[in-house]
């Protein structure tokens, strides 16, 4: 395998892409690591084109200028959605942009492994392949939690819980490529927390003005479950004047809203597994995705599963890149003969 890499390194660039609902990242064999928020925006008219100065904008850039853009978040709910052509176009733009960020040499061949939310994979396999194939010489599509598991070497007797924005994907690894029964998707994830938080805040502070984007930032900054000692106060304008608001309880309630489904599905998946190996799996539960950053979630889950026997839950070190790193590893390990026909 070393040999192959050595001779392939020169003219082949391996990339691993994590195509997420909220953030997409790329890891390449030339050691580039980049990420963008999965937003794509096209200027609404020629005036806005003048203002933003680019034909298409991405991520934070697009969000900042969103008032003059047609903004698209193509993978909402983990599926390529709505105005079909537009979202397919947007997925394409994201991929193209990501690969450009990896700075391939002009004559380098690009071999890509793309991790996508497990639900997307079911019906949109071809669409995603189509979107990527223009920019890569050869590519493979895998499910997101599987890429994470592969990257962390958790090939056997482990459970990966990938809490993304659109979906939470669970995947049991038992030494083979996970079949459909080994994977499960629930729809309560980051976006759901945003919605809950938004409605709780509107309820509590009907006079204050905030939007979904602000709410998302609150969540990303302060999210927690169970207890924390500090207060959470944020500035929100009321009648144009910035006023401090206490949002601790709302953040807690919103974050905890995903827990019941999560615990239930986790136990259900473990219970379905061969009883002899259940203990091993329980000692090998890994939280990935943006949701793993919620403070206290790991402890909560470990506690909740306690009544089913001892268990050990860990979080991935780098949720942003764990998917793309795993995909990259997969790409590099893949024997050359497998790449060719694809």
């Amino acid at each position: 395998m070393k040999q192959k890499e050595a001779q392939g390194e020169g003219n082949i660039l391996f990339v691993g892409i994590d195509l997420g609902t909220s953030r997409s990242s790329i890891s390449a064999s030339n050691n580039t690591r980049e990420w963008i928020e999965s937003y794509v925006g096209w200027p609404k008219d020629f005036i806005s084109l003048q203002v933003v100065g680019k034909p298409v904008l991405f991520g934070a850039d697009a969000l900042k200028n969103r008032l003059s853009l047609d903004l698209c978040r193509p993978l909402e709910h983990g599926v390529i959605k709505e105005g079909i052509e537009k979202s397919e176009e947007a997925v394409k733009e994201i991929i193209k942009h990501l690969i450009e960020l990896a700075k391939p040499q002009p004559e380098q061949k690009i071999y890509a492994v793309v991790g996508v939310p497990a639900d997307t994979l079911k019906v949109n396999k071809l669409a995603i392949r189509k979107a990527v194939s223009e920019f890569a010489h050869s590519l493979m599509v895998v499910s997101e939690p599987f890429a994470v598991a592969y990257g962390m070497n958790l090939l056997n007797n482990s459970l990966v819980i990938d809490i993304g924005a659109g979906t939470t994907d669970l995947c049991i690894m038992h030494g083979t490529i996970p079949s459909e029964e080994d994977q499960k998707t629930i729809l309560t994830a980051g976006d759901y927390i945003d919605e809950q938080l938004y409605s709780y805040l509107t309820e509590k502070y009907p006079n204050s003005k905030f939007n979904k984007n602000m709410v998302r930032q609150f969540k990303e900054q302060y999210s927690f479950v169970r207890e924390i000692s500090e207060d959470i106060r944020v500035e929100i304008p009321v009648d144009g004047k910035p006023v401090m608001h206490d949002i601790k309880n709302e953040v807690k309630r919103a974050c905890e809203s995903i827990l019941p489904a999560l615990v239930e599905t986790t136990t259900e998946m473990i219970a379905r597994f061969d009883p002899e190996f259940q203990v091993k799996i329980k000692n090998n539960i890994v939280l990935a995705g943006g949701g793993s950053l919620i403070r206290g979630l790991r402890e909560y889950l470990q506690n909740a599963l306690k009544e089913y026997g001892p268990c050990n839950v860990t979080c991935v070190e780098d949720p942003l890149f764990s998917g793309s790193n795993g995909a990259l590893k997969l790409a590099q390990d893949m024997p050359a003969k497998y790449w060719e026909p694809l």
Binding site: E88, V123, N124, L126, L154, N157, L330, P341
Partner: protein
Amino acid sequence: MLFMIPKKREIRVRKAILRGVYEDNLRIIGKNPVILAGRAPIFFKKMFLFFSITLLSILVNGNYLNLPLFPEKQTTASLITQRPSSLPAEKPVKPSDYAAFLGGKEMPLSRMFGLEVKTIMIDPGHGGSDSGTTGTMGTKEKDITLDIAKKLRERLRKYGRYNILITREQDTTLPLNQRVELARSSRADIFISIHLNYLPSKPINIIETYYFGPSADDKTLRLAEQENAGSHYGLSDFKEIIGKIGETLKLQESKEFAASIQKNLFLNSKKQNANVYNFGVKRAPFIVLLGVDVPAVLAEVSCLSNREEEIELNTESHRENIARYLEAGILDYLNKGEVSYEAKRSSGRR
């Protein structure tokens, strides 16, 4: 990573996984992984043999992908032309009945009494542990039906006039009796169940729509058996439900509804793909249709056994199109009464 078994074993596992990923992706693009079983010399010979046979069959039979092998093409064609004449075999429906129902001077029940249809229940077939049928590329019926159902719901929601319900939101197992219960308890006004056909022996694409009724057709009965499996209804329940057949009004309405769905589905699909056959509106004892008290139909919107169709079904736009046709069918039924539609129908069909 408590897991430090000898390295060799890990490498083997890794290899198997890589291979699995590769085969999975081959399947996505529609190549058969079995052919690529390794072992170069035999492999190439096999390849050569395979291609020469393929070539031969193309030369002999024309289009290979469609597989309308000549003799078979004729049988299917004649099958279709025979269809109207085979229909009277289902005794109670006489041609005159058909004419009456196709000519359709009657308005739908809802219109007649000035009632409004408020709640539409969409039922994506199968789900969870019950995958329905599976195509050669691994496309599952349950996923496609769910996606189409969701798209249909979005489309109908835009009108704002209807309350749209869906029996399952996710990939969950839902026995038929629960679907029926849902439709009853939510007081749905009309009910549409979405399914995909699978014809292992015939490489054609057909569209058909069912409403509840006894059937004399063997194939239909088998299909009903298949779709009824896992209903969780006992025989006594079934008898009781069957007693309700007397509700002829519901039957009449369902028939009308089915005709509207079938017409819109078929005529529009035909525009996209000339190779689709119209198997018409049929009656069959599907439990899911019987249990529901309101007009209910089961639409087999496409055919997963057809390779080309499976590829199409994997595209977003095709599923959106099917949802659009269903939407048109539903609205047509709800807003019917205009003569123009009827005129077109009696001359245009079959």
